[in-house]
């Protein structure tokens, strides 16, 4: 399919104004990607500063500055990068194409959600510039009510970004239900779309609760309404219920899209039909469902009733089952495949390796008695970094490298890709494997300064963070370089079978010249009938 020049691709035409007022889901996806990657860089810098402080004992920065660093690292990474990046950037770009549609159901709403996201992030940046926030990204009361830092800017920013998440989720659900091409039944959809669909359901159901929580927190600070303020008769643990009712489903908003991408990449680069399509598809929905009934495992030691601890520990264990099925099925897909170790596949393998560790260490924290020991220690920090960074970010990078040729019509440099992948992988394990042992030895979280016995492991962890920094620096440069100097990308560099590979890269504004009719499933690889 040579690029037909009579219809320009979506990148060409119109200056900045046409980008800022575009209704094309592909341009909005690219704008989201630029914004979220920029915030990822800022969050990453804060992470390096946090690790720099923890390089050795003794204060490098003052305690308040350190507390602002880890709070802003957490808040920026969670609300401005890891929640929106895969659904809003890659999801926006590829969902309509993969179901054979021209655009999402509500294009104007899509652009509105991008502007709401930018206003929300502007407020959070305002919080950074006006002295930062030192309450931790969880804003636990009563400290978040007492703290003199600009908590109100930060919470309002989160409140507004929540709406962006709701509108995106709403848009995706309606698009998947109403705009699928003829022949594209639910069971012929790629697994990436099942994951995005499950994520959208969580976004629509959970995000309003963080909306009401942030409003109530602002009301606590402004009007002293007293729901969560013990001085006025409220209960701080009730705030934790409200916060985690959203925030635990939010961690599944983060991981599910990553899983969706890995399902795509593993099948394409093993040239084999996915092992257990229905199992993986429905385990995405199962995870979305279970994610709403487990939030109490964050509060085992915060004076929660034994009955609630019993229920939450039992229900949290259920999450392990669908997750394990997915990991098992990905590995089984590679059996007797023809595995092509390109960068996307390397990141997918890194995902399986790191996410398995992340998932299994979740078992330690779900068991009640062990959590009494490990809660709020570096064991928890290591666990969620393995799941979030080892999971979602590895999935994101796999997706970025896999779809880069399609999005920009340029190939990324394969050698540099493999180098930065190995740098990040080594650096990641050095940084966070050590933190498991720090947690086992009882080093609590959010400590500006630690006792001498924790020094060697912390030093190793900081060195590891430099490797990660280097790896990402290389990646950012070669991605920018590839935009201008990268080799021209063919329409289907990986010889994949899903719909986005049947059109030019980069695609034309209306994606398909003729609306596609889908007759087969997304992963019809494998010729030898056994």
């Amino acid at each position: 399919m040579s690029a037909t020049d009579h219809t320009k691709n979506y990148l060409q035409g119109g200056g900045l104004w046409s980008w800022l007022t575009t209704l094309d889901h592909k341009r909005i996806g690219v704008m989201y990607m630029i914004a979220t990657m920029f915030f990822f860089a800022i969050g990453g810098i804060f992470a390096l500063l946090v690790r720099l402080e923890l390089f050795k004992t003794g204060p490098l920065f003052s305690p308040d500055t350190y507390n602002k660093f880890f709070t802003l690292h957490g808040a920026i990474m969670v609300f401005m990068f890891i929640i929106p990046v895969i659904p809003a950037a890659l999801g926006n770009f590829f969902l309509p194409i993969q179901i054979g549609a021209k655009d999402v159901a509500f294009p104007r709403l899509n652009l509105l959600s991008w502007y709401i996201f930018m206003i929300g992030s502007f407020l959070l940046v305002l919080a950074v510039l006006s002295g930062g926030v030192d309450t931790g990204w969880t804003f636990y009361t009563p400290y978040s009510i007492r703290s003199a830092t600009s908590v109100i800017f930060a919470t309002l920013g989160v409140f507004i970004m929540g709406f962006s998440g709701i509108l995106t989720g709403l848009n995706f659900i309606v698009t998947i239900h109403k705009l699928r091409a003829p022949g594209m039944t639910f069971h012929r959809m790629p697994l990436f779309l099942w994951a995005i669909y499950a994520t959208a359901i969580i976004q629509v159901l959970a995000t309003p609760v963080i909306g009401i929580t942030t409003v109530l927190l602002v009301m606590e600070r402004v009007l002293h309404i007293g729901f969560f303020d013990p001085k006025l008769g409220g209960d701080p643990v009730l705030f934790q219920h409200f916060f985690w009712f959203y925030s635990h489903p939010a961690v599944y908003i983060m991981i599910l899209p990553g899983m969706g991408i890995v399902s795509e990449v593993i099948t394409v680069f093993s040239r084999k039909h996915i092992f257990g399509y229905h199992a993986i598809a429905y385990s995405s929905l199962a995870i979305a469902g279970i994610s709403f009934i487990v939030w109490g495992h964050h509060m085992f030691v915060s004076s929660q009733s034994p009955l609630a601890n019993f229920l939450f520990s039992l229900l949290t264990m259920l999450v392990a089952v669908p997750t394990a099925i997915k990991v098992f099925n990905w590995t089984a897909t590679m059996y007797r495949g023809s595995i092509w170790l390109q960068t996307p596949m390397l990141y997918a393998l890194a995902f399986i390796f790191l996410f398995t560790i992340g998932g299994l260490t979740g078992l330690f924290l779900a068991a009640l008695s062990v959590d009494v020991h490990l809660h709020d220690t570096y064991f928890v920090v290591a666990h969620f970094h393995y799941v979030m960074m080892g999971g979602t970010v590895m999935g994101l990078l796999a997706g970025l490298h896999y779809w880069w040729p399609k999005m920009f019509g340029r190939m990324y440099p394969e050698g540099w890709g493999k180098l930065s992948c190995s740098l990040i992988f080594i650096g990641f394990n050095l940084t966070f494997l050590t933190q498991f042992f720090l947690g086992k030895m009882g080093m609590p979280r959010r400590y500006h300064d630690y006792l001498p016995q924790y020094a060697p492991l912390n030093m190793a962890s900081t060195v590891g963070s430099w490797f990660i920094g280097a790896g990402f620096l290389i990646m950012f440069t070669y991605f920018i370089w590839s935009l201008f100097k990268g080799a021209k990308a063919p329409a289907n560099p990986w010889d994949a079978k899903t719909l986005e590979w049947t059109i030019e890269s980069p695609p034309t504004t209306h994606n398909f010249h003729k609306e596609p009719v889908v007759t087969t499933g997304p992963y019809e690889y494998g010729e030898v009938k056994i």
Partner: protein, 210 residues
Amino acid sequence: MTEHVVPDHFHSAEQAFESSKLGLWLFLVTEILLFGGLFVIYIIYRAMYPDMFHEASRHLNRTLGFINTLVLICSSFTMAMAVNKTQNDRSNRANQYLLLTLMFAATFMVIKYFEYTHKFHEGLLPGAHFSFAEITHPKADLFFSLYFMMTGLHGIHVLVGIGLILWVLVRSNRGDFGSRYSTPVELTGIYWHLVDLIWIYLFPLLYLIG
């Protein structure tokens, strides 16, 4: 009757209508969970301090609450009639019903205004500003915080509803709607019924505690 053009990424007007209806229902889910948060606080604190809720709720004006409920129910009826008239190409009747709905909504807000000013005057304010001698229970401020949060958020939604109905009325006057295209009227209608539905729960929970 200006011709409504179906956006090109939809196959048919029917699909466009069904999509926007599903979109609105999903939005209503987020509204229910937004208010749900406040209902959770209500349920928890009422179960913890039942006597306080009894004592505090006696200081709410039941008659005004009752009148407000009737007003909202009537506005719901007139809204439903407006949607029905629009679908039957009886747009001037529809405009009248829309106007009636607006009037009911405005009366609701006026009554709310009187209730609020009366409470400010008496000192029944939320949280730390609560200074009302008769109620002795130390946590009575929680009830009034809840009262102002719930009715305040609901009031904001009524204002948004008024804005939407005005916008629909203006376009209906211009003749945009008819039996072929009445999506905005129907969607505004469904949103307005949700606002009424939330008040149907708010009224007994806040005013009618036995």
